[in-house]
Amino acid sequence: MADGAVPLIHLEGVTKVFVTDEVETHALAGIHVDINKGEYVSISGPSGCGKSTLLAILGLLDTPTDGTYILNGKPVSGLKMQERARIRNREIGFIFQAFNLIGDLTVYENVELPLTYRGTPGSERKKLVHEALEKVGMSHRVKHYPSQLSGGQQQRVAVARALVGSPSVLLADEPTGNLDSANGEAVMDLMRELHRNGATIVMVTHDPRYARFADRNIHLFDGRVVEEKMEVV
């Protein structure tokens, strides 16, 4: 790898402290993580250990209390809102446990949304949306509303929405948490497929079966990385 020396994501000493009603919660306590381009990383750990918090910081939804975050060679922890929104839009694709499709928008419009915020011209948007839906096998349902789809189908649309703008990294927070095992299986197959085609994926999961698909597993406990192990594929 030509850029193997410079990781896509570099976290150093990242902490996150939530202060509510005078109670301080140390959700993350000094995280050091490097993630390379094209890697498939899973994050696991008991409930409340800080998985979602870490993912939010990676996705620039939240800022660390302390520490450095370098994304694509650029420090991003101190950026202004405006710039963070731009990076979120271009570099990050989110897949949520709760699908989080917008009920008022059709499948097509949901997938189109990141491109709209990016200002991509209409004809190109159309092409990209169809390609993305093609990849997840949902191109026959463009006019449907989310409420007319099954959970597995909704999550596949959500995946299409995450990858439509070709982001540098896909972040997934328990993408199978709301799905039965058959549908969960299908979504995980889809993730593997995307990874094989070069996508960088960071996925939070409880399920050891799915964690095994990853190149590497990061285990968190009480806001710290307690174990990092490479999976043998």
């Binding site: 929104a85 949520f96 949304l113």
Partner: protein, 815 residues
């Protein structure tokens, strides 16, 4: 039912914020309606304060389309020959000077037939009224009745007033009784009544009762039992014919007709009736908007009460029981709003009566049914209306939310799945009951705004209207010289002395005496431009020479009056531009002679000496008419003194009073105010409609803004997660801001799309009230549309700001 009520009270008390907003909203809506209803109740619904008022009629003497007052010989003919009426009475109003009291008073006097009081069913508070035999003989019975007010204020309620002699225009009258409190005659300002047969001495015109061509009073009658108004009208035809025969007209004139009209109708200003009806519709709109807000509030509330509803249903409540529970709550709210609205109405009535449009009473129509504090009150009828409206409103705004809430899908609500039932309400994109209601609300608000905008534009144009005279820095005062005491020569002498004294005062530039003032001239005379020509009615303005300089009325041709245009000299006459154009089309009128029938002086010939600029005499809003000026020194009639000063005109008021009293201490001075102040009075009718409609439109706008704010804010709250997702996907804060504001704006624009055409149609009813403004006036419509959009933007701004603060982390959370 009682349990429902108890629960409703408890549930409302549990959310005091919601309850307070709801009651305030309803108080404004119901209060506005109660206000206008109390005006309608006081002006239109309240029966005339007379015995059996439905039987009373006004008899109008008509020739062609012109209405004439009656002359005494014609009245006597009709009274003698008619068979439809129990009684017939004539009356006329004139002002007179009451002397022999501490300060001489200028009072309104009503000259009445003896049958007048029994016909109206008015009993004296003290003494007696006039007897039938006391109105037969000219000048035969110098008797007087005084008003309760005059008795209280000038005679300290002394019962010995009966039998005492008072002096009216220096003539003695014997008081025979005191009228009951509240009765002030047909013009509602009368303090003294005398028999109509005293007219010759009272007016100082000997032929008042015998000249068939002196028209000076009005006639009322009471229908006989069993005779209907149409029957009576029908029986008037032969009587009118008899007048034609008995009093052949010297000139070409259409035959007489006598018309019988319901007195109630005759005393109701049709313009006021219409404007009250328009206001009623306007406040109906305001209440509708308030109800829409309430329905939306209740719907948001019932979303947060889903769990409660679900539990109730789960334990076996029927849908009917739930609807009843919800309606009990909304009717209770309605009634609470009604009580608060009653207090709002008390303020509203103060405002309306303070704005009281000057009753447009002139000789032809004594519109006694006008907006007056005495008649517009919160009485039992208003209370009943208020309660009925409160209940109706409660049912109206409660029904839809009750139906919606009770239709809850039990399974979903208990599972509490996001994106279920409640999400249906959150979206403003796809049409739902909320967005439809808000769109309607916006449309209603626009209609009201358009109406108010047009009225306000009219009012502004009216205020800017050039009346043809400059009126600032002018003080006016009136002093009426009793004819009996002041011969024309004496009157001229008096006024010349007075003007001389006033001219000498410091700062005074011009002084004049006249029978008119700009925007205030009602004397009419017949004039023709030569033998055999047609008689035409023209405005007769008698002015002293300096009048034109004082009011800056330009001389266009010829010359103005000079000191030599006096009694004895040939009569001189000035035409206004309009009169010259109409009366002498294509001719040069200067030097021509015209014939006048002026002030009972018989036909006279006058020479046209000049043409002056037009002045609006018939109110500000009417275009200038055909007016002619005669010299006050030749026709000394009229009592309006005007003074132009360099400084504050009011500071001269004491000087004017003392100057008059130095010449005659028994003359009352009245109407002392600036000319500008007098003009304000004559815009009062348009101001009344413009201000009230403006207030209602502002209310509508406020309520619509609150409604829009509520709906947008609710949608932001319900869509927090969606907004979080959008932010997570890279939406910038401005994108979210635009999204929310866009939602609000699209509702407003939808409201405009419906509202503008509706307003174009609805404001057509205003056309008769508008002044120089068309109902579809594009400027007014553009202005109010922009205003509505701006307010909608403001209403959406706050929730949009809140939406910008949404933490994108909500997208990750899974409750």
């Amino acid at each position: 039912m009682l349990r429902d009520l108890r629960f409703a009270v408890r549930s409302l008390l549990r959310s005091p914020g919601f309850t307070a907003v709801a009651i305030a909203t309803l108080a404004l809506g119901i209060g506005a309606n109660t206000t206008i209803f109390s005006l309608i109740n006081g002006v239109l619904l309240r029966p005339l304060p007379y015995h059996d008022p439905d039987k009373l009629v006004a008899l109008d003497l008509m020739s062609g389309r012109s209405q004439f007052p009656w002359s005494y010989p014609m009245f006597e003919d009709v009274r003698r020959d008619q068979r439809s009426f129990e009684s017939v009475a004539g009356f006329s109003t004139w002002s007179g000077n009451l002397t022999g009291v501490e300060n001489p008073l200028r009072l309104q006097v009503e000259l009445v037939s003896a049958s007048y009081f029994p016909m109206l069913g008015i009993e004296p508070a003290l003494g007696r009224v006039f007897r039938p035999e006391e109105d037969r003989e000219p000048n035969g019975h110098p008797l007087a009745l005084v008003s309760y007010r005059l008795w209280r204020e000038q005679y300290a309620r002394d019962p010995g007033i009966v039998g005492r002699t008072i002096h009216l225009n220096q003539l003695p009258y014997t008081v025979v009784g005191v009228m009951p409190p509240g009765f002030r005659g047909q013009t509602d300002d009368i303090d003294i009544w005398i028999p109509i047969t005293m007219a010759p001495s009272f007016y100082g015109i000997p032929r008042r009762l015998t000249n068939a061509w002196t028209f000076w009073f009005r006639v009322y009658a009471r229908l006989k039992p069993g005779v209907s108004l149409p029957q009576a009208s029908f029986q008037m035809a032969p009587l009118a014919k008899a007048i034609d025969v008995a009093h052949p007209h010297p000139n070409e004139m259409k035959p007489w007709q006598v018309r019988a009209n319901s007195l109630t109708e005759a005393k109701t200003d049709p313009a006021l009736r219409k404007s009250l009806m328009i206001m009623f519709a306007a406040v109906g709109f305001v209440l509708l908007i308030a109800c829409v807000n309430m329905a939306n509030l209740l719907m948001s509330r019932s979303v947060s009460r889903q769990k409660e509803v679900a539990v109730r249903l789960a334990v076996g409540a029927s849908r009917g029981a739930l609807i009843r529970q919800f309606l009990t709550e909304s009717v209770l709210l309605g009634l609470a709003g009604g009580v608060a609205g009653f207090f709002v109405a008390a303020y509203g009535i103060d405002l309306a009566t303070a704005l009281r449009p000057e009753a447009s009473g002139n000789f032809w129509a004594f519109y006694s049914r006008s907006v007056k504090a005495e008649s517009v009150q919160l009485d039992g009828y208003v209370l009943a209306f208020n309660i009925a409206l409160s209940i109706l409103a409660g049912v109206l705004f409660g029904l839809l939310p009750a139906l919606q809430a009770s239709k809850l899908d039990l399974n979903q609500a208990l599972k509490n799945v996001t994106g279920g039932w409640s999400a249906k309400w959150s979206s403003l994109r796809r049409p739902n009951s909320r967005s439809v209601l808000i769109t309607g609300e916006m449309a209603l608000a626009l209609v009201l705004l358009a109406g108010a905008g047009l009225m306000i534009e009219s009012f502004a144009r009216l205020l800017k209207t050039r009346i043809g005279a400059t009126t600032d820095h002018v003080l006016t005062a009136s002093v009426s010289l009793p004819l009996r005491q002041y011969s024309p020569e004496a009157a001229v002498r008096f006024q010349q002395q007075l003007l001389g004294r006033l001219e000498a005062a410091p700062g005074v530039q011009h002084v004049s005496v006249s029978n008119c003032l700009p925007a205030r001239g009602d004397e009419v005379t017949m004039m023709r431009t030569g033998e055999g020509k047609e008689w035409a009615a023209v405005g007769a303005r008698s002015v002293s020479p300096d009048y034109f300089a004082l009011f800056h009325i330009p001389l266009l041709r010829g010359r103005l009056f000079g000191g030599h245009d006096q009694a004895g000299a040939p009569k001189a006459l000035l035409l206004t531009e309009t009169a010259a154009r109409h009366l002498f089309p294509g001719e040069d009128p200067i030097g021509k002679h015209v014939e006048l029938q002026i002030w009972d002086t018989g036909e006279q010939v006058a020479e046209v000496i000049g043409i002056v600029g037009d002045v609006r005499y018939d109110g500000i809003e009417r275009p200038p008419g055909d007016d002619v000026y005669v010299s006050y020194w030749q026709y000394p009639y009229g009592a309006d003194v005007a003074v132009r000063t360099a400084g504050d005109p009011m500071s001269l008021a004491p000087y004017v009073r003392s100057a008059i009293h130095a010449l005659d201490k028994d003359l009352p001075v009245y109407g002392v105010e600036t000319m500008d102040r007098k003009l304000v009075d004559s815009t009062s009718r348009l101001r009344f409609s413009a201000v009230l409609l403006g207030v209602f439109a502002a209310l509508a706008l406020l309520l619509a803004a609150i409604g829009l704010y509520g709906v947008v804010a609710y949608s932001v709250a319900a869509r927090t997660r969606e907004i979080g997702i959008r932010l997570a996907l890279g939406a910038k804060r401005e994108d979210v801001f635009k999204l929310v504001v866009g939602d609000g704006l699209s509702l407003c624009l939808a409201g405009l799309v419906i509202g503008v055409p509706s307003a174009v149609a609805a404001t057509r009813v205003l056309s008769s009230f508008l002044y120089n403004t068309k109902p579809g006036d594009p400027i007014a419509f553009a202005a109010v549309s922009v205003l509505l959009v701006l307010v909608a933007l403001m209403a959406a701004y706050i929730p949009a700001r809140r939406a910008m603060q949404v933490d994108p982390m909500v997208a990750l959370r899974w409750e």
